[in-house]
Structures are given as structure tokens and as C-alpha cells.
């Protein structure tokens, strides 16, 4: 297993007025690693993602991706460094076709000349090539999730943050998304999966981090982490 560090978050914290949403979080991620990030609602998972992706430009601590300091960089600059993300609710470009949705990142990543071919290849990877000329509003929920993944794949990411990419899906659909994430991971992309569906997290993650009240309380192998009494108490509601 590689000892190289892809993502290094050191002392990351975020306050909203007097409210501490995230405090002193340290996380390291190796290239190609699959990390599950869990925690109850309001535990700071999405705040952490927003600090990493650049949505919250101002935060405490520092973050590097592949050795590049991310501090002060806008989200689009982070995307070009290989950081892709999906959103809790799919956020397609509604007036553009599925194909154009995937072409957009390619146009701005220096692949304008071959954007259409590459976009079709991304859609084929997520089994959406047949819907290329549909509008996002004509897609089902799971298809919209696949579109988000195709758009992320188009960035040729080193790290994908899948923020509740399976919310609202049926069991069979959850399995389809997990399969896609595995395929992406096998191609070399590290994945941080933020999810409430424990079956998905445990099936996918090789390492688990738990947040509670803005702090990291556990970090390790999934079965070991889930057996910790503080995790059971805080996350699973057991005494």
C-alpha cells in the first residue's frame, strides 16, 4: 500500500459566528484510498467537504492536495488540481443536455477539441450514453446521480468526494452507485464517501472516520471503528 499522501488536512476548523462547526480535524488520505466519513446530522461532515472543495474559502488549518496548498484557491482551481465532488442533492445544469453537462468541465480543462468524444466516454462509464441528448429533468433520481458522477469523472480526478451520493435511492440503485464508485476507484481515484447508508459505507470503505459535534472521534478500519463504544454511543445511539 502506498505511503504517499494525496490529501492532507491539518487542524481544519470552521466557525459560524460563535458556533464551532468543525474543530482541529486532521485527516490524511493516500492515493487511491477509499475513505468513509460518517457522523450524525450536524457533525461537520459537509462543512469539512466544503472546506476541502473551496466552498468555504476561509477556515482554520491547512489543506494540501498532492503537495499543493489549497488555501485561498477557488473551487475551480481545486477542480483542476484533481479534486471532484458530487452534491447531496444533484445539481445538474438544467438547460443543458446530459452530454453538454459533461462537456462543460472538459471545455475548461484543456480538452475543448475532443470534449464531445471524452464526454461520451464518461457517459459510457456510468452507463448513460443512451441518455446523452436528454435534459436532466427527464432523468430519474439515480440517473441524475450517475450524471453527477460522469461530470466528476470528466475532471479526471485524483480525489472524488461523494457527498451523500446515494441519498433517496433504492437498495438496487445504491448497489449500482457503489459499483460505479468501485470502478472509479480501481482506475486510481481516491474516494471520500460521506453517507448515512451504513451498508454502503461498510461495503465500500477500507478506512472509516467518524465526526461528532465538529470533531474527529475515530479513524481506522471500519469494523474496529464501528466497535468503539464512543462511536456506538454517538452515532448508532447505543449506550
Amino acid at each position: 500500500m502506498s505511503t504517499e499522501v494525496l490529501l492532507h488536512a491539518r487542524g481544519v476548523g470552521k466557525k459560524f459566528g460563535g458556533f464551532v462547526a468543525l474543530a482541529e480535524v486532521d485527516i490524511q488520505l493516500r492515493p487511491g484510498e477509499r475513505l468513509g466519513l460518517i457522523g450524525p446530522n450536524g457533525s461537520g461532515k459537509s462543512t469539512f467537504v466544503n472546506c476541502i472543495s473551496g466552498d468555504f474559502a476561509q477556515h482554520e488549518g491547512e489543506v494540501t492536495l498532492g503537495g499543493h496548498q489549497l488555501g485561498g484557491l477557488k473551487p475551480h482551481r481545486r477542480a483542476r488540481l484533481g479534486l471532484a465532488r458530487t452534491f447531496q442533492l444533484p445539481q445538474p445544469f438544467n438547460s443543458l443536455s446530459v452530454l453538454e453537462n459533461v462537456r462543460v468541465p472538459l471545455l475548461f480543462a484543456g480538452h475543448a477539441a475532443e470534449a464531445t468524444e471524452r464526454a461520451m466516454a464518461c457517459l459510457e462509464q456510468v452507463e448513460m450514453a443512451g441518455k446523452a441528448h436528454k435534459l436532466p429533468k427527464e432523468l430519474t433520481q439515480v440517473e441524475q446521480r450517475r450524471l453527477e458522477l460522469a461530470r466528476a469523472i470528466a475532471l479526471d480526478p485524483r480525489l472524488l468526494i461523494a457527498d451523500e451520493a446515494m441519498a433517496g435511492l433504492s437498495n438496487a440503485e445504491v448497489d449500482q452507485i457503489i459499483e460505479l464508485l468501485f470502478k472509479l476507484n480501481q482506475a486510481g481515484t481516491a474516494v471520500i464517501m460521506i453517507e448515512h447508508i451504513m451498508r454502503a459505507v461498510t461495503a465500500f470503505s477500507e478506512r472509516l472516520v467518524v465526526f461528532v459535534a465538529g470533531r474527529k472521534i475515530a479513524d481506522g478500519l471500519p469494523r474496529e471503528v464501528l466497535a468503539l463504544p464512543e462511536v456506538e454511543g454517538a452515532y448508532l445511539g447505543k449506550q
Binding site: 471532484a84 465532488r85 452534491f87 438544467n94 462543460v104 471545455l107
Partner: protein, 310 residues
């Protein structure tokens, strides 16, 4: 033949036909009315770049147009230069104004951005009213020649200049729409956060759009003092420009290059017809009603309605 070349050749042929038809008609009012319609083609196409593609509604069209008109006056006062250098100077001044406005206001979203652009217009008007060099509240006169070779009249010259500008503005709109810039602006309009997350440099694209939009609006305004021979702040900063700049693309079909052209030709022709047959005071009343009808019944404009039918 590539589509760009086809567009430019087609537009040039249509323009030549229009000039020939008006020359055959031999009526100076036709040039006057034609200029009126074409100036709105430029203004509506300019508004569409930021408002239609990127979804940032600019209420300050009158301010940018007046900046263009007064730039032409300043250049004439300072260096004695005529219309064409005035148009180039107006594009530069209004483009820089657009860039500056964008830089200061584009962190605002939705209605806050719109209000900021409206404020810009008010600030500029206050400046002009208190600036004696350009006539202040009295206004400024421009004595234009009766004719200019090889044109049959100065009216024809102004019409042809505005025709070239209108074709240029529609062509720029079309080029933006088909380019990477246009796709980026559409992504911003649909979901700015997602656009940024997939690598679209949103602020840079919006600044390009405000600069282009400002420059074209300035270009639309530069010939205004030559058109009327006199310009005062009230006329230059008229509410009609701000309202028409928004209404025309919305009625024609915002977010497409042809929409503003269709909306401008339709609405400006209607206003001209109302001016000569009923009263000029009816202009904004007509625009208001058409806007209400279109927003309620055809929210994607005429072009959107035809596309849905197809």
C-alpha cells in the same frame, strides 16, 4: 461552408438588401425609424450576453448607453473627432465601466446585483448632470453635417453605421453562444456553485461578460447625440432604454442570439408605429403589456415557443 461564414455572409446580404430597399423608398423617416430599431438590436444583444446567457439581470442598460453617448461627446469636445472614433472610444469607456462594475458587484447575486446596476445608472446620471464640460443638465448640441459622401444623406450614413453595429452585435452574441464562454455562462446561469466545482472560472467569465455587455451598450449609445443633434441627461438615461433592454430579449427569447434580434425588431417597430399613429407616451405602456403577456404565456419568448412547437 462553415456556419460562421454562412452567418456573416447572410447578414451582410440582408443588410445590403435593407440599404437598397430604403434607398429605393427615398424617405428620410425610414432611415430614422430603421436606426431606432437597430439601436435596440445592439442594446438587446448586449443585455443578452450577461442577462440571457449568465442569468445576471442588468437594470443599468441606460447608464451604459449614456456612458457611450457622453464618451462620443467628450471625444468630440476634446479632440474634434467624429462618429466612428467616438464609437470606438465609447466601446472602450463603457467596456471598462462594465469591467469595473462587474468587479465590484459580481459577488452579489440575483436581485442584489440588479439593484447595484440600477444604482450605477443613477450615480452616472448625477455625475453627468453636474458636469458642465458635457453640457450638464442643459444638455449638449452636436451640429452634424447634412450629408457625408458617398451616402445620400447623414440619416442614411447613421442608419448604415447602426446596421453594421447591429450585425456585429448579433454576430458577437452568436459567437459567444457557440463558444466555450457561452457554455460556461449557461452553466453559471443554471447552477453557479456546480459550475465552479467542475472547473468553470465563474468570476473570470462573468467579468468578460460584463465587459462585453458594457462595451456593446456603449456602442449602441455612441451615435445617439449624432442621431438627435442634441442630448441631455434625461434623454440619455431614459427609463425606456433600461426597460427595453430587458423586455426585448425576454420577448424574443433570452439566452439565444436570435431572441434579442427578434424582440428588438418586433417591439421597437411597434413603438415606432405607436409613436407616429397614436402617441409617443404609449411606448412604455406597450412594452409593459407585452412583457406581462409574454412572461405569463410564453416565458421562453417567441423563439422558445416555436422550438417547443417544433
Amino acid at each position: 461552408m462553415n456556419t460562421h461564414l454562412r452567418f456573416w455572409l447572410g447578414a451582410a446580404a440582408l443588410g445590403l438588401l435593407l440599404v437598397a430597399a430604403l434607398r429605393l423608398l427615398g424617405n428620410d423617416y425610414a432611415y430614422f425609424a430603421g436606426y431606432f430599431v437597430l439601436q435596440y438590436v445592439v442594446l438587446a444583444s448586449a443585455w443578452n450576453i450577461l442577462g440571457g446567457y449568465a442569468g445576471y439581470v442588468n437594470f443599468g442598460a441606460a447608464g451604459f448607453m449614456a456612458a457611450g453617448a457622453y464618451s462620443a461627446i467628450v471625444l468630440r469636445q476634446a479632440l474634434g473627432l467624429d462618429l466612428i472614433p467616438g464609437i470606438i472610444f465609447a466601446a472602450l469607456v463603457a467596456g471598462l465601466l462594465g469591467l469595473g462594475t462587474g468587479y465590484l458587484t459580481l459577488r452579489l447575486k440575483g436581485v442584489y446585483f440588479s439593484i447595484a446596476t440600477l444604482c450605477l445608472s443613477v450615480v452616472l446620471q448625477t455625475l453627468v448632470v453636474n458636469w458642465d464640460y458635457v453640457g450638464g443638465s442643459r444638455g449638449a448640441y452636436i451640429i452634424r453635417p447634412r450629408e457625408i459622401a458617398p451616402f445620400v444623406s447623414y440619416g442614411e450614413y447613421l442608419f448604415i453605421v447602426m446596421l453594421v453595429l447591429a450585425i456585429g452585435a448579433a454576430g458577437i452574441g452568436r459567437t459567444v453562444e457557440m463558444s466555450r464562454l457561452g457554455r460556461g455562462l449557461q452553466a453559471i446561469r443554471d447552477n453557479e456553485r456546480a459550475a465552479e466545482a467542475v472547473g468553470v472560472p465563474t468570476l473570470r467569465l462573468k467579468l468578460i461578460a460584463t465587459t462585453l455587455c458594457g462595451a456593446l451598450m456603449g456602442v449602441a449609445g455612441a451615435p445617439l447625440p449624432y442621431y438627435s443633434g442634441y442630448l441631455n441627461p434625461e434623454a440619455a438615461f431614459s427609463l425606456a432604454y433600461a426597460v427595453n433592454a430587458i423586455a426585448m430579449p425576454l420577448i424574443g427569447g433570452a439566452g439565444t442570439w436570435a431572441g434579442p434580434v427578434i424582440g428588438a425588431v418586433l417591439l421597437a417597430s411597434l413603438q415606432q408605429a405607436a409613436t407616429v399613429t397614436i402617441s409617443s407616451a404609449l411606448n412604455l405602456w406597450i412594452v409593459g403589456w407585452m412583457l406581462v403577456i409574454f412572461v405569463a404565456l410564453f416565458p421562453k419568448g417567441i423563439l422558445g415557443w416555436f422550438r417547443r412547437k417544433a
